[in-house]
Each structure stands twice: as C-alpha cells, then as structure tokens.
C-alpha cells in the first residue's frame, strides 16, 4: 500500500503527523506534510487510513499496488 500527498493542497494542518507519525512528518519551512515512507507496512494501514480521513484539505490518498 502506498500513500500519496498533494503538496499543492496541503495547508500544514499536521493532523496526519499527529495521528501517524511513523509515516507522516512536516517540514520546517512551510510546515507541510513530508511522507516518511510512502510504501507503508500493513500493520500501519489503519493509522494511515485514519490520517487520510482526518486531512481537512483532502490532500492525502491511498493508492493500491506499487504501480499507482
């Protein structure tokens, strides 16, 4: 599973970082999302999905399969 962030949409709410710091961080310049591991392990799937659903901008999405 892979998570993709759209930096044009991200406004730096950092909800993803709060909810799943294993996969999401934020940069020190604009405070926008930094995806630490876009291909995340299955045990983090619930947390990543929660982070995606909590993004107030809808800037995150999960893509199935490595080709996505």
């Amino acid at each position: 599973m892979k998570v993709i962030a759209n930096l044009h949409i991200c406004q730096g709410h950092a909800r993803c970082e709060d909810l799943c710091p294993e996969v999401f961080s934020t940069d020190e310049i604009e405070g926008k999302v930094v995806v630490l591991q876009s291909e995340f392990p299955p045990e983090l799937e619930d947390k990543v999905r929660l982070a995606v659903r909590n993004c107030p901008e809808g800037a995150l999405r999960i893509a199935k399969g490595a080709a996505a």
């Binding site: 709410h13 934020t26 020190e28 993004c55 107030p56 901008e57």
Partner: protein
C-alpha cells in the same frame, strides 16, 4: 417575539432568505454564546441567509459552504472584511490579503509556527503556565479569565515578540479594549494605541535585533533585498496581536467551563497527562466543539452561488461552530466524544488562510491544561457567576468565569 424592524433587503436578496439575526446579541441568561448559532440551525432557517443587522451580511450554515467560503478566495476575499464595516481598517497582514500577495508574509512567518518550531516552545510554555498558576493555586478559587486565560496567551505573545513580561498589564489593557469595546471613539483611539506600541516595538528591534519574531519580521528582506514596506510590518504585528490573544483565551474559557462541570473529562485528561499524543487527540475534539471564531469574508464580484445572487462587497460570515456540528459530516455532532476518530473540524479554517498559529494555539491549550490539572486536579464552577458574562461577535466567549477548588 415582536418584530421591531421592517426588513428592507438589498434588491438582490429575496425576502425568503431574510432572517432577523444579530450575532453580537446574546440573550439575557444565555450561558453559551455559541447557542444563538445552533438555534438558527434548529429553527430550520435557510442554510444560506441574509440578515440586515450589523451593516447587513450573509451567513453560511453548512459545512460544505463554509469550506467553500474559505477555499475560494477569488469569490470570497479576506481583504477589508470587518462586520459591521469599520473604515478605515488596517490591512491585516497576511491574513487580510488574498493570494498571491498573501504568500509574502505567509512565507516569512511560516517557519516560526510549524509543528517543529512549536514543539521547541513546549518547555517555556509549561514554565510560564506554572508561574501563573502559582499565583492563585493556594487561594481555593480564581476568576479564570482574569487570572489565567487572558494572562497565559498574552504573556506568550510578549515572549514571542521579545518583550519583557513586566509589560503584561499594559498589553492586557489594550487587548481588553480592542476585543470588548463597542464605543467607536474608544476603538479608534485603541487602534492608534496598538499601532503606537507596534511602531515602538519594531523600531527597537531594528536597532537591537534579538532572536524573537518581531526581529525576524523587521530583518526579513524581499526578493530584491529590501526591507518589507513598514506599514506591512506593522500590519503583520497587528495580525499576530489580534489573532493570538482573545481566540486562545476564550477557547480556554469554554474548555475549563466544560471541565469544571464534567468529572469524567477531568479524569480522561488526567489519565493522559504523560501521553501527549493521546492528550492531543482529546484536545482536538475540544477544539471542534469549542470553535470561538466567526470568520468574515467579502464578496469580490457579482456572481451566483447555489442559485443565490451575491453582489460585490457583500459580507459573509463563516461560523466555525456551526460547520463543526454539521450532521452531514460528523457522527453525533452535538456529542463531545474525546475519542472521536474522524474529526475534520474547521476551527482553524481551511485553504490558504488556515490559521498559521494553529499549532501554537493547540500547544498553548494543551500545556495550560496539563499544568493546571497537575496542580489543580479537581475544580468546579463557583456559585456566584457574574450575570451576562457571555458575549458574541467575531470571537465568542466570556468576560469572567469564577472557579473554585
């Protein structure tokens, strides 16, 4: 209720979209100023309506429309938006300008308010909170607003701006007038006072730069290596002053009011004192349910939205508290669920103007609560609350809140 006024809608507003609603007026005896907004929804008024009060303005009541009001700056601008209109009004920088101009100061301020930067402030915030609590913890009670909720964010502002804490009373005074005076002359004088303080502050930081935010703003250079226009610098200071004080104070007031009457909530947060991630999750729900800001926008040009005619310079209010309890978005929207999983609240807005201080605000609320609960784990509302302490407007809240323990 007798209808005291004869509505005379602007000619582009159909009569069925007119509602008699004054968001500054809180009925006598109403404990929660946000209730007037939720009553609108309960009464089933149109989700987009127009009120002739306060110079006349639209109100959006649906989450989706409120989000649209935030996102679409080409329709709904942040430039010169006060309701009722105040002329002249400072161009609050960068909140009061639209992209792309907005980006200049946003970029300048952003690094100082990132989650990373705010995490580094944690220990200072905690020390400050403890210092303030020390002054009243042994007294068995306090006026939460005067003794804690207004002091803490104001002292934090002074620290950020590299000003000594001795100036706290002076800043509490001018902030008090700014947020609560309705007298036009006093307000005009107060704006002058605030700008005089900012002028003096930035001049001093130009001569003797420090590591504070004010020094950074004054030292910043534009793409051509020049200092930003002086008026923009002052307006940026004004924004930070206006945005970071009353909002935090009243959010805290709402939260403590809830904690004082809800033993399970005190227990919930006490059990998470040493687990900041879990604590923050609970705070997030309190931010959703206690959204104190009603945000203004100005219509940029004539257009139709959802079949309704909007005219250039129409004002619009986006009440966050209403968006945050929209049943189409939130499960059991009126219920406070500290373990709520999906919580896309708009307390800090969305889109390009997302509150730049949101991470600091949340950290301030979190730290002030952690330190309080460590020192004063149990407390309740005192019996002698002041009448008519609740106020409405662009920031809703309370002028006093008596607690005891």
């Amino acid at each position: 209720m007798t209808l005291q006024w004869q509505p005379s809608p602007p000619d582009h507003v159909p009569a069925e979209l007119m509602v008699d609603f004054d968001f500054f007026k809180i009925p006598q005896g109403e404990g929660d100023p946000a209730q007037i907004w939720h009553d609108l929804v309960r009464r089933g008024v149109p989700p987009i309506f127009y009120t002739p009060h306060n110079g006349g303005h639209w109100v959006f009541l649906k989450y989706d429309d409120i989000v649209e009001g935030y996102r679409d700056h080409e329709k709904f601008s942040t430039f010169q938006t006060p309701i009722p209109p105040i002329e002249p009004y400072p161009v609050v920088m960068p909140q009061g300008v639209d992209p792309p101009e907005h980006k200049v100061f946003r970029t300048l301020l952003a690094p100082m308010f990132t989650p990373h930067a705010v995490r580094k402030m944690h220990d200072d915030l905690a020390q400050r909170a403890r210092r303030i609590i020390d002054r009243f913890a042994d007294k068995g009670g306090c006026d939460f607003i005067a003794d804690y909720a207004s002091q803490f964010p104001t002292a934090t502002f002074l620290e950020l701006f590299g000003l000594p804490e001795e100036r706290l009373p002076e800043f509490l005074e001018i902030a008090g007038v700014f947020f609560h005076s309705t007298d036009p002359d006093e307000r005009a004088q107060n704006l002058n006072d605030i700008y005089a303080v900012l002028e003096e502050l930035f001049r001093e930081k130009e001569r003797n730069p420090g590591t504070d935010l004010a020094s950074a703003i004054v030292a910043a250079r534009d793409a051509e290596g020049k200092q930003h226009p002086w008026i923009d610098i002052l307006n940026c200071g004004f924004l930070l002053f206006v945005a970071g004080l009353d909002t935090v104070t009243n959010t805290m007031a709402y939260i403590w009011r809830y904690l004082a009457t809800t033993p399970e909530a005190r227990e919930y947060f006490r059990a998470r004192l040493d687990d900041p991630a879990a604590f923050l999750l609970g705070i997030e729900e309190l931010m959703r349910i206690n959204a104190v800001s009603n945000i203004y926008r100005r219509v940029t040009h004539d257009f139709e939205y959802k079949g309704i005619q909007f005219r250039r310079n129409d004002r619009v209010i986006l009440p966050n508290t209403v968006a945050n309890r929209d049943g189409a978005i939130f499960k059991n929207p009126q219920m406070i669920d500290l373990d709520r999983k999906v919580n896309n609240h708009v307390t800090f807005g969305v889109g390009p103007h997302r509150c730049i201080g949101s991470h600091l605000a949340k950290r301030e609320v979190m730290v002030s609560m952690q330190e309080w609960l460590r020192r004063i784990p149990e407390f309740e509302l005192a019996e002698d609350q002041k009448e008519s302490s609740a106020f409405g407007g662009s920031v809703m809240g309370f002028t006093s809140l008596e607690l005891r323990w």
